[in-house]
């Protein structure tokens, strides 16, 4: 099942057609039994990806994980953490899969492709073995980061530097785990104006999606529609030699196998 938000309404998606299922994706994610009976058919209206909003435009909580791939931890100058490092992207930064992002003047804005887990039933103290059942599925995101703001404090406070307007493009839709050959092994990659930037597989994460769900839910209750940005692999601009940041006019295209593609143009 593919589920998204089109013109402010929750929709079930098949190909380029969408079936209206209600006013809020967040409201339907807690129990997908009803939706699993529905199928999109040839009489349902067509849409284009640029009409979609973030699949969950209004999550109650957005978790993001730092340094969850060993080579990225190394390039960032850290040893691999022994428990997940968690910050937030404030939900006002979320946008749909096709967007234009204004670069903060004077900033060092960087890319971070990430698979994003979307909470379904949620709950507290979810065991690793039950994690996928508590999730609705996965989508794709960019954890866009303005490095000067991100690293300004002592100690650094990540969240604001990752929450500028448009810094959380997500989508194009939520894919339920049954549609993926292996939900714990999703390949993804990004390009900037056609030049490869990052690529990885979620099976290389230090803390798998089930481990993250277990860890986060041991502290916070997870609510339907909450997002977990699961971390980025190596290949960010800040660690290139010399460092390389996004520039006006460039286009960042990010793709995940079995999920889809999101496209950001920068101004």
């Amino acid at each position: 099942m593919k589920l998204g938000t089109l013109r402010g309404r929750a929709v079930l998606i098949d190909g380029d057609r969408a079936l209206d299922v209600g006013p809020s994706v967040r409201a339907v994610l807690g129990n997908l039994t009803h939706l699993s009976r529905l199928t999109v058919d040839d009489n349902d209206p067509r849409f284009t990806v640029d009409e979609l909003s973030a699949p969950v435009p209004d999550p109650r909580q957005v978790f993001a994980i730092a340094l969850n791939y060993a080579p990225h931890a190394a390039e960032a100058g850290y040893t691999a953490p022994d428990q997940p490092l968690v910050f937030t992207k404030f939900p006002s930064c979320l946008t749909g899969p096709v967007s234009v992002v204004a670069l903060p003047p004077g900033g060092h804005t960087d890319w971070e492709i990430e698979v994003v887990a979307v909470v379904g039933r949620g709950g507290r103290n979810i065991a690793e073995a039950d994690a996928w059942a508590a999730l609705a599925g996965v989508t794709l995101g960019q954890d866009l980061s303005e490095r000067l703001t991100q690293l300004a404090g002592r100690p650094a406070q990540f969240s604001l530097g990752k929450s500028f307007a448009g810094f959380g493009p997500v989508g194009p839709w939520i894919v339920t785990p049954d549609e993926l050959p292996d939900p714990d092994d999703i390949a993804f990659s990004s390009t900037l104006d056609g030049v490869p930037l990052q690529s990885g597989r979620t099976s290389d994460m230090i803390f798998s999606i089930p481990k993250l769900v277990a860890f986060l839910s041991s502290v916070c209750e997870l609510y339907p529609g909450d997002l977990i940005f699961t971390g980025t692999p190596e290949g960010i601009g800040n660690r290139m030699d010399p460092p390389r940041f996004l520039e006006a006019g460039e286009t960042l295209v990010s793709t995940a196998e079995g999920i889809g593609t999101i496209t950001q143009r920068f101004l």
Partner: protein, 290 residues
């Protein structure tokens, strides 16, 4: 899915103890739209809503004599005409009431108010002239039906070989408490059925004893043509009051509570109310039925 009609005709489905509202004007419209109806976003506690009759169909087909045991016991009543297998007649849909609504005893018309527990099949899409092989795809769900019958009126009707009025009087058609969609009933031919009056078991049986299977029945009715949401009842099981050696000890009386249960579908509960509690008039009577 447990599809419900609640409060002033709102539509929804029950999920645990919550009613999730659906954006359609009626459950009939829900089926007319191929069950593809969005949610409104409103969720209410099941305890806070008043469930209504789950559907008011365009057509409501009765099936007579479809359980062997009931068919045999009816021989004892000595109707003036036999009830042949496959006899079909229509229910008055304006007599439909929902769960916990009162069956109003029309004391001026009958002294022999009887119950008949039946499984009702909900038709999901339009169609006609099809065989049993195709019939399953037309079965969208199930609900419980209590075919309230005035036996004394039925006896007189039967002299002319018909029965309609005796089952069509206002409030004589309780259905509910909801429609359970077919995907939630793995085998509709293995459901225990039980009807209780004030807690005493009066009827007890199983849909495995249906003479005609549900696909056969749905195919059998199909020349009459179906609209989405039509109901077909499947006949009652043994144990109705009329066949007891002392039927007047079994006929329903005011203030009785009737619970009609079908495994996996639900329990439909209705109280029998005095005419005067429901109407501010003397009980209606008619010389024709005096």
């Amino acid at each position: 899915m447990k599809l419900v009609t609640f409060d002033a005709g709102r539509v929804g489905y029950v999920e645990d103890e919550t009613v999730v509202e659906l954006d359609c004007a009626s459950t009939r419209e829900f089926f007319e739209r191929g069950s593809r109806v969005p949610e409104t976003g409103e969720r209410l506690a099941l305890a806070d809503v008043r469930l209504r009759a789950p559907i008011v169909p365009k057509k409501f087909f009765h099936t007579a004599g479809n359980f062997a045991a009931h068919h045999e016991e009816l021989q004892a009543v000595d109707w003036s005409h036999p009830v042949h297998k496959g006899i079909v007649f229509f229910q008055n849909v304006d007599a439909i009431i929902g769960p916990d609504d009162d069956i109003v005893y029309p004391e001026g018309l009958t002294k022999e108010l009887d119950y008949e527990l039946e499984l009702a099949v909900v038709i999901g899409k339009p169609g006609k002239f099809f065989g049993p092989d195709e019939a399953s795809s037309y079965i969208a769900g199930y609900t419980v039906f209590n075919d309230i019958t005035a036996r004394d009126i039925q006896r007189r009707e039967m002299e002319s070989g018909v029965f309609s009025f005796s089952k069509a009087i206002d409030t004589f058609c309780p259905i509910g408490p909801w429609i359970v969609t077919a995907d939630e009933i793995p085998d509709a031919h293995a459901l225990a059925m039980e009807l209780r009056v004030n807690g005493d078991v009066r009827q007890s049986g199983n849909t495995s004893d249906l003479l005609l299977t549900l696909p056969q029945l749905v195919a059998h009715h199909s020349p009459q043509g179906y609209s989405a949401g039509d109901l077909i009842t499947t006949g009652t099981i043994s144990g109705v009051a009329a066949v007891q050696p002392n039927p007047f000890d079994f006929y329903l009386q005011p203030s009785d509570v009737v619970e009609a249960s079908i495994e996996g579908v639900g329990t439909l509960r209705n109280r029998v109310a005095l005419w005067r509690d429901a109407h501010d008039t003397e009980p209606y009577s008619s010389d024709l039925y005096a």
